[in-house]
């Protein structure tokens, strides 16, 4: 009764279980160090003051938002080309994590916007394209869950992830264009032309911490999805036998 889905996932379950504690511990450590460095040890910005410290959460979140979408698209392509069910499970496990990072990037961007621009939200090119990215994540998740058969949902969502991936740079390009059309340089740029090394170090540590956190979380979610499919397979076999 073990069918194609159960063959390679069995090995995945074994190895992932070994990686998970390490990734979790390292993520916790990196985020703790990064937050301490960012919030207390690093200098305040000469213009923005302490407000700049939002950057240590905001910028890595925005990076992770793009990273997760890329990971999702690559996994989806891997699934459609090589029919490796784990690739689809990886993509599906990544989606909500990516969506949360995207939402975090938007929320922190908005928090940063209040002291900087005097308003919670401006239709800044970056915020707007990240907002569209969030919609793409939500669409992926809605489509993947809309099917009775998770395998079919996974295939449909994989196609959508690839279509979205092609579209993301075009959206970015059009939003940049649209923004210059509507908002001539009235807003302060979020990042200065250069960044102080004392700020860069905590930023990179935070980025590493977020990435490790993603690894730990995606493993947990993938394990849950594999188990869920296994239960489903057993139920189907029970019904069909």
């Amino acid at each position: 009764m073990s069918w194609h889905l159960l063959a390679s996932p069995a090995r995945f379950m074994r190895y992932s279980e070994r990686i998970r504690p390490w990734a979790s511990a390292l993520a916790l450590g990196a985020i703790a160090i990064g937050l301490y460095q960012g919030l207390f040890a690093s200098p305040a910005d000469y213009q923005q003051g302490d407000t700049v410290r939002i950057m240590y959460v905001h910028v890595p979140s925005a990076w992770m938002a793009l990273f997760c979408y890329t990971a999702m698209a690559v996994s989806s392509a891997g699934y459609l080309v090589w029919k490796q069910p784990l690739a689809e499970i990886a993509a599906r496990a990544t989606a909500p994590i990516g969506a949360c990072f995207t939402a975090l990037a938007l929320a922190t961007g908005s928090l940063w916007g209040k002291p900087m621009w005097g308003t919670w939200w401006v239709w800044d090119a970056r915020l707007t394209s990240v907002l569209v990215l969030l919609f793409l994540y939500l669409g992926y998740m809605a489509l993947a869950d809309a099917f009775d058969d998770p395998v079919k949902g996974g295939k449909a969502a994989s196609i959508l992830a690839l279509v979205g991936f092609v579209n993301v740079p075009i959206v970015k390009f059009s939003v940049d264009w649209w923004n210059t059309l509507h908002q001539p340089v009235s807003v302060a740029r979020m990042d200065g032309p250069t960044i102080d090394p004392a700020m860069l170090a905590p930023l990179l540590i935070m980025a590493a911490g977020f990435t490790l956190y993603y690894v730990a979380l995606v493993i947990v979610r993938m394990q849950a999805l594999v188990l869920e499919r296994r239960v489903r397979a057993l139920q189907q076999v029970a019904a069909g036998a």
Binding site: H4, V151, A233, A241
Partner: protein, 209 residues
Amino acid sequence: MTARLAVEGLACVRGERRVFERVDFALGAGEALVLTGPNGAGKSSLLRTLAGLIEPAAGRIAWDGADVAEDPEAFRAQVQAVFHADAVKPVLTVAQNLRFWARLRGGDDARVGRALERLGLARLADVPGGVLSAGQRRRLALARLLAAPAALWLMDEPAVTLDRDAVAALGAAIADHRAGGGLVVVATHGDIALADAHRLDLGAARGAA
């Protein structure tokens, strides 16, 4: 006789469930295969796999010795299928419905006319599809087989809702098709007569789950 259609080790997976596996058979020109088995044994799945709608989980399908996966369009040109749904558009007339499907496969109006005649639909040619009874719709679906040439007919319970005359007409059409070298694979509960057909019992062929 050399096999035109050869199936080796075919397996089908739906969801996480194996519907059938290790299905082998070969059909030569003029031969027919009857699929039997209880509900859920995979008769429809096998027909849809043969048609190329379902990708086989394992095994190969060969037409005239060549794997059909290599040139699916060329193989599709050889295949006509009647599945459960009749694909009749209510707002088009009977003749318009049939003419569209015939055109997709190189059938002409004369052939469409003969097909309607043969299944007793000539009188209804200009009636919209929406007013047909279930049996008449089924006849129209079967008329597609006659309206354009194809070597292999795939049929899923073709006689459902047909009256006795229509079943006889269908039996005669299949016999003619086979006499002309055509092949037939049909899932049926034995309501149509097929002379010396091969049989495949999917209930028995199915591996222990």
